[in-house]
């Protein structure tokens, strides 16, 4: 495919950006699937969008504000109840700086 939209290197790069480890078998399956989806998206080249503003939200709301008041929230035990790992009332997060 000379005009391919996405190479194996691109796929690996995108997967890294998205923080997803792909199994080797997935890479082989996904590459042609993504290629065909991306080719299909070329249909948008037919559209004339000169002087058209983009739409990012469909209703006309502006900022929605509320008063800055303290309301009930979870206690510490509840907030931590779904975490796979906790310690001393904290979420356990993998180290971000190497020793």
């Amino acid at each position: 495919m000379s005009s391919s939209k996405i190479s194996m290197l691109d796929l690996e790069h995108i997967a890294k950006l998205a923080r997803i480890n792909l199994f080797e078998s997935e890479k082989i399956t996904f590459l042609p699937q993504l290629e065909s989806v991306l080719e299909y998206l070329d249909v948008l080249n037919q559209a004339n969008v000169e002087n058209i503003e983009p739409t990012f939200r469909v209703n006309d709301q502006k900022n929605v504000l509320r008063s800055d008041e303290i309301v009930d929230s979870f206690d510490q035990k509840t907030a931590l109840s779904t975490a796979p790992k906790t310690q001393d009332g904290y979420f356990v997060v993998p180290g971000t700086i190497k020793k």
């Binding site: 249909v43 969008v49 709301q61």
Partner: protein, 487 residues
């Protein structure tokens, strides 16, 4: 007493005339689930204990003469992407297996507050990514009309549960057709409301500028009743609109079919539509004509770009929303990673289903450096075109009538290896989500294999009462929605 195929008002009549108790009603559905769900596989979790406790409390209230909610006696199934406090919520993904939320989604809670009873959590494509339930991290739901066919998706478990009479109504979400498509393939009614009518709070986010939670029911009358309670502003979802909620039930007879202008968009009656679907949907238009409505040929020329716009913008929003799944505050994680990047990559790589990964990858690609303008910006501009075409068409006609699915239910497995073919099943549903306008789907016949066919009525922003009224009047004169599968 036989409680088969009853609507909410019918079951409430039996309840309030003391012919049945709430426990009887719940047991009726639990028995059906035990008998039929091993084949249909609509449910991931059956909430037998919770349902019976709720039912008993409600019976006690009724016995004491206490005031009960407007949905007393109504039994619901809930798509498993709605958070339900202390009830497992998996989003049909291995990522959230065993997850017990600490809070509930707003619209589920609003229904519970009206004394609706939850009977279980239903299967979907993972995080609602799909059109058939085949992407589910657990199993595929079967179409109650033919167990070798898909129920449609992503809310396929909810649709199958209502169609098989395993509950009275169900909650679903429609980001690109995920309520209307399965409703149509399973012969039930479903409402995709205007974006911002129903709160998205407490529902796993797919594409935040598209997601529309809504209801499935056995008829339009029940959709109106339920939407009365789901709709309305929610401080916890800043995109909900602070409009007064109309009394949808009282407005069901309001629209006069005589003189009604119904637009038929030519782009929805052409390829890829199947001939039998087209014939049946056109028969529905003849019904309205016979009641004095005028059929008007219209054009929504950008319809052919809908899927492309959708599959750029939705995966883009998905890639941002799914970044939260890191297995730290909730969800499953992995051990023995040398550094934090490996931790993220392995955790997400281990548990996300293939379609979840594909959509994140497409979105990451579309948003990445060098491609952003060609994909995201371009698609956002075409979104404007699609929205304007609906607004302009709805100045000329009162309502738009179109098919929901180009075909009837297809064989399980037929499209699973070709994501693009699976994406194209939403050809006639995605544009309403791109634009944000409401649409109600309802049954209008069967093909030669006795598989259901449906049509949709699309209105302008916040015109739910209008489209529900037109749909309800259709059901007063037809009996397609009363047909049930042989199980």
């Amino acid at each position: 007493m036989d409680l088969k195929n009853l609507t909410i008002s019918q079951i409430q009549e039996l309840l309030f005339s003391k012919k049945v108790s709430v426990v009887d009603i719940v047991n009726f559905y639990l028995e059906r689930i035990k008998k039929l769900d091993p084949q249909i596989k609509a449910f991931i979790t059956i909430t037998e204990k919770e349902a019976l406790i709720q039912a008993k409390n409600l019976d006690d209230k009724i016995k004491k003469g206490d005031k009960v909610g407007k949905l007393a006696g109504a039994v619901m199934a809930v798509k498993d992407i709605f958070l339900t406090k202390n009830i497992q919520t998996t989003a049909s993904s291995q990522v959230l297996k065993d997850y017990l939320p600490q809070y509930s989604s707003t619209i589920y809670q609003r229904l519970i507050d009206q004394d609706a009873i939850i009977i279980g959590k239903t299967n979907t494509d993972p995080f609602a990514f799909g059109g058939s339930t085949e992407n589910s991290g657990f199993f595929t739901t079967k179409n109650p009309w033919n167990l070798s066919k898909v129920p449609g998706g992503s809310s396929g478990g909810s649709a199958a549960a209502v169609a098989a009479d395993l509950c009275q109504f169900a909650l679903g979400t429609d980001t690109g057709g995920s309520i209307r498509l399965p409703a149509s393939l399973c012969n039930i009614s479903g409402l995709k409301p205007t974006y911002g009518l129903n709160s998205r709070y407490g529902i796993t986010a797919m594409a935040s500028s598209f997601d529309c939670p809504g209801v499935f029911a056995k008829n339009v009358e029940d959709l109106a009743l339920l939407t009365q309670f789901t709709a309305g502003v929610d401080p916890k979802d800043a995109t909900t609109i602070d409009n007064p909620v109309p009394n949808y039930s009282e407005l069901l007879d309001k629209v006069n079919l005589k003189g009604l202008k119904i637009g038929l968009p030519k782009e929805y009656f052409t390829d890829p539509i199947n001939t039998e679907v087209k014939t049946k949907v056109l028969e529905a238009t003849k019904f309205f004509e016979s009641k004095g409505a005028t059929l008007v040929d219209i054009s929504l020329p950008s319809t052919k770009l809908g899927i492309a716009v959708y599959y750029i913008l939705v995966p883009s929003e998905i890639s941002a929303n799914m970044a939260r799944y890191d297995g730290i505050r909730f969800g499953r994680n992995t051990d023995n990673n040398p550094d934090i990047t490996s931790y993220y990559m392995n955790t997400r790589g281990q548990y996300m289903e293939a379609e979840v990964k594909r959509r994140i990858l497409i979105g990451t690609y579309a948003l990445s450096s060098g491609y952003y303008d060609a994909y995201y910006t371009k698609a956002s501009k075409v979104r404007t075109l699609i929205k304007n075409e609906f607004i302009n068409a709805l100045k000329k006609v009162d309502v738009i009538l179109a098919p929901v699915s180009p075909t009837t239910a297809w064989d399980i497995g037929a499209k699973v290896n070709d994501p693009l073919q699976m994406y194209l099943v939403d050809a006639f549903t995605v544009c309403t989500n791109v634009a944000g306008v409401p649409s109600v789907a309802l049954p209008c016949g069967f093909d030669n294999q006795n598989l259901p066919i449906g049509f949709q009525l699309i209105g302008n922003f916040f015109e739910e009462s209008k489209i529900l009224s037109i749909a309800h009047q259709y059901q007063q004169f037809t009996d397609y929605h009363l047909q049930t599968p042989n199980l």
